[in-house]
């Protein structure tokens, strides 16, 4: 089948890729599923599903303990996954800590770094566009350790307002934690130059890369940040496999996050010494199958190429913005510029509540997110209670965006908008 999509987006062969995702064949409400909610979680391709299955079917055993053959295979697979993920983000592997998700990774930094190693009166800088997972852990740490929090604002096009950055980076600021790509606005922040300014001021930089790592080439060596968090489930991997990368020398200085098995070197009833990094931060039995699946996800994404994925998404985003324009009476939040944002577009239709929009789209088997997107302070800043969000990935087509446009026409008709 030669669709318009493959003609307009030669960056990748979307029909061939779609065949890798079993769930995309399924029907909802009697119609072909149109999945436009990849910013929440992406669908999983067959090679990832097979890797998880194969791990349990052939090599399952607990890792880093036991001398039998399966234990050593499982350990090998787990450590290979660590190497693979490090290569995926162009970072040294000793800095990779496997955790459940971005949220857990940011909590680890807020707890073991900010709460433990910063002192009362120190300042941590965030922004108003953060996901709750890059807000609440810092609020908790601030309360416990007497830290101050300050926030970068956004401008009317949903970009970070950096006018006051140098002032905010001045003492007593010790750490800046920012989202790389907003899960609401799609805005991509220029982390590399912000990090350079922060480091010049002696401020460490943490990055919530949940939305950037899956969709574009992210190189740690290039960004030169100190902490980076992301989730495997947003990049074709299984749920439960998340990643923190941190500079190994910082991990050395940080006290453990959780205590238990695997993270220790020697335990007596009086005193315990810690395992080497990154194992010091991986207490208990890890999600080995998740790590193996994430390894397969890295291979899958790199077999397509992240610049091809970015190109494809740029085309889809441009089309999405055009279609929303054609629908009419639609308010779009964010840059509205496919070159300045990733494949995420938030909008409202007239004054229709986003959940009513979501329900009507659902009847056409179109899956979007409707709500506050775990970013209530950003909603308040935008002056809305909630938005509808369509987000795309490597498997979406232009004709799916057209279906969204048609269904938004139903919304306008039912609610008599315009």
């Amino acid at each position: 089948m030669t669709t318009e999509a493959t003609v307009r987006s030669p960056a990748l062969d979307v029909e061939r890729l779609r065949a890798d995702f079993p769930i995309l064949q399924r029907r909802v409400a009697g119609r072909q599923l149109v999945y436009l909610d990849s910013a929440a979680t992406t669908q999983k391709p067959a090679p990832v599903l097979r890797a998880v299955d194969a791990y349990y079917a052939t090599s399952n055993a607990n890792v880093h303990r036991g001398v039998h053959a399966l234990a050593s295979e499982a350990t090998d697979l787990y450590e290979r996954a660590r190497q693979r993920v490090a290569r995926f983000i162009d970072a040294p592997a000793e800095g990779i800590v496997f955790l459940r998700n971005t949220t857990e990774a940011l909590n680890l930094v807020a707890s073991s770094y900010a709460r433990e190693l910063l002192t009362s009166g120190d300042r941590v800088v965030l922004s108003v566009m953060e996901h709750h997972s890059n807000l609440v852990p810092w609020q908790l740490a601030a309360e416990r350790a007497g830290l101050q929090l300050a926030y970068l604002d956004i401008d009317d096009s949903g970009r970070l307002d950096l006018a006051g950055l140098d002032e905010l980076l001045a003492p007593p600021t010790k750490l800046l934690s920012l989202v790389h790509m907003s899960n609401v606005l799609g805005t991509v922040n220029d982390i590399k130059s912000i990090a350079a300014r922060a480091h010049a001021a002696g401020v460490l930089v943490a990055v919530d890369a949940a939305q950037s790592v899956p969709h574009s080439t992210v190189s740690l060596r290039d960004l030169d940040v100190d902490f980076l968090a992301f989730s495997g489930h947003k990049m074709c991997g299984p749920m439960g496999a998340g990643v923190l990368w941190a500079r190994p020398e910082l991990l050395e200085r940080m006290p453990p996050f959780l205590g238990g098995g695997s993270m220790i070197s020697r335990v007596t009833l009086e005193r315990t010494t810690w395992n080497t990094v990154p194992h010091k931060f991986e207490a208990g039995t890890p999600d080995v199958a998740g790590a193996v699946g994430l390894h397969a996800a890295c291979d899958y994404i790199d077999s397509i190429g992240r610049s091809a994925i970015r190109e494809h998404e740029r085309g889809l985003t441009r089309h999405l913005l055009d279609v929303l324009d054609e629908v009419g009476d639609v308010t779009v939040y964010g840059p509205r510029d496919a070159d300045a944002q990733g494949g995420v577009v938030s909008f409202n239709v007239g004054d229709v509540h986003p959940h009513d929009v979501g329900t009507i789209l659902d009847r056409s088997a179109i899956a979007v997110r409707a709500g506050h997107h775990c970013a209530q302070p950003l909603m308040r800043r935008l002056g809305v209670a909630a938005t509808v969000r369509a987000s795309v990935y490597l498997y979406n087509t232009h004709s799916e965006i057209d279906s969204l446009g048609a269904a938004l026409g139903d919304v306008k008709r039912i609610f008599k908008v315009g």
């Binding site: 029907r27 909802v28 409400a29 009697g30 119609r31 229709v352 509540h353 986003p354 959940h355 009513d356 329900t359 009507i360 009847r363 056409s364 709500g371 506050h372 209670a385 909630a386 269904a407 139903d410 039912i414 609610f415 008599k416």
Partner: protein, 160 residues
Amino acid sequence: MDYDEIVAVGFTPVDDDLYREIILDHYRNPRHKQALPAADRTVAANNPLCGDEIDLMLQLDGEGIRAVAFEGRGCSISQASASMLCEAVTGMRIGDAEALAERFRAMLQGSSADPGDIGDLEALQGVRAYPVRVKCATLAWNALLEALHQDNAEEQRDST
């Protein structure tokens, strides 16, 4: 584990009877949406999923509901349901209002889809097909029951 039980396979027409005219009318032109300074009871109810907020205010009069009003914001289902509630229970005896609220909730959540004669409220029956939206429709009714029970609880406390 039986997947087939939870996987939605049926066909839903785009224009089913969820967004009936009367619901949209109550949403656009809500009745009794105002402050009620003489209220004896106010219950604030929230539905975090939709961000629906309803403050339900009741003025009681012995065994009866003398006046009822609401303020709030949210999706069409939550706001229309609150508006219809206010119309339905104004002037009702407390016991009858409780019974109506229970029948309404049973219509949306319970095993019995037939609520008997509930007048215009029957229009909200379409919500039954949308499990995630049932909370929107029942929000104001839960607030009503809470307000009425609060009253009972206090009376019981008074009498002991």
